[in-house]
């Protein structure tokens, strides 16, 4: 079945199929005639546009006369840092880099689907799974970095004789975390898209705009929840008890 492509994906597939196939071969997959998928190209678009915005911001940073862009990003930064300090405590400021990146990346990915001729990369489970695995690796590696090999004691529970019971429970609960992060973000974006399409099929004019407005709100809230849960997991793994 010929699948429809976005105009950018068509440009990538027409002019750069060799690059896509080389990337596929790097991970051991077979080369295909049109290797670039919609969500891959959309992620590249999001990353490039964010880098352009931040490059422009960097040149315009000024302590004396801050412009509108600087105010906006100061607001973002204060928000993320305030949340991190609320969740993790005083050390939260060290990890604001990752939290801010996740928040802004997922927020932009969610919102770019509303622009005509673009598609939300987070409407594909592979993208959300990537973000969830990044979070999983980040908080576990931070735990190992903070506690050394004693990080494994976190999975053992409060008493030593509870360890054989607690260890499988903790492992299952830790595996459920990236799974729930993936499915939550994917289902919210996918359902928002489908609901808009269903209403577009029923009433051909103007009514789906209401659902697109709801999708803006839902996208922002889901990006915030992803960041909040990341902070909560990082807080749990770097916590210094007693």
């Amino acid at each position: 079945m010929p699948e429809s492509e976005l105009w950018i994906t068509r440009i990538f597939n027409d002019y750069l199929p060799g690059l896509g196939n080389r990337a596929l071969e790097l991970v051991g997959m077979h080369p295909e005639p049109r290797p670039w998928a919609d969500f891959v190209v959309m992620q590249i678009v999001v990353v490039v546009s964010l880098m352009v915005v931040f490059a422009v911001l960097r040149r315009r940073l000024s302590p004396d006369r801050p412009g509108g862009l600087q105010h906006t990003f100061e607001m973002f930064y204060e928000f993320v840092r305030g949340q991190a300090e609320g969740q993790i405590g005083h050390e939260g400021t060290r990890y604001v880099v990752f939290f801010g990146t996740i928040f802004i990346f997922i927020l932009t990915c969610n919102l770019i689907g509303l622009v005509p001729a673009f598609e939300s990369p987070t409407g594909n489970p592979s993208v959300t799974c990537g973000c969830a695995i990044a979070t999983f690796l980040y908080y576990n590696l931070l735990g190992v970095q903070t506690h050394g090999l004693k990080y494994i004691l976190h999975f053992m529970g409060p008493k030593w004789w509870l360890a054989p019971l607690m260890f499988p429970i903790e492992i299952v609960s830790h595996i459920a975390r990236p799974l729930s992060l993936t499915i939550r973000l994917y289902a919210n974006m996918f359902a928002g898209e489908q609901v808009t399409l269903v209403f577009l099929r029923m009433t051909y004019f103007l009514v789906p705009v209401v659902f697109m407005g709801l999708h803006v709100f839902v996208g922002a809230v889901q990006a915030y929840i992803f960041m909040l849960l990341t902070m909560s997991y990082v807080g749990g793994s770097v916590a210094h008890e007693h």
Partner: protein, 96 residues
Amino acid sequence: MKKLFTLLALMLLASSLLCAQTPGSAAAVPLLSNAFAMAIASGLCGLAQGKAIASAVEGMARNPGAAGAIQLAMLIGLAFVESLALYTLLIVFLGK
């Protein structure tokens, strides 16, 4: 409690009626089960969200100064419960 038992008895009766269908109509079973699954998920999700909003509004009425924090907590809680109903919708869409 009696209402719950009545509801359960009616559901069992309905499922026995479903099993008495002729084999040709087996293709409609996924559609029916999808509808029931979504109805149960949405109904329970509605109850849970109603409880969350009720306590949030009562908290805001008792302590208007904390209204901002309560509103934020309410929105986060609503988003979590909404996700649970959306998992069921995902299964419905993936099953088709």
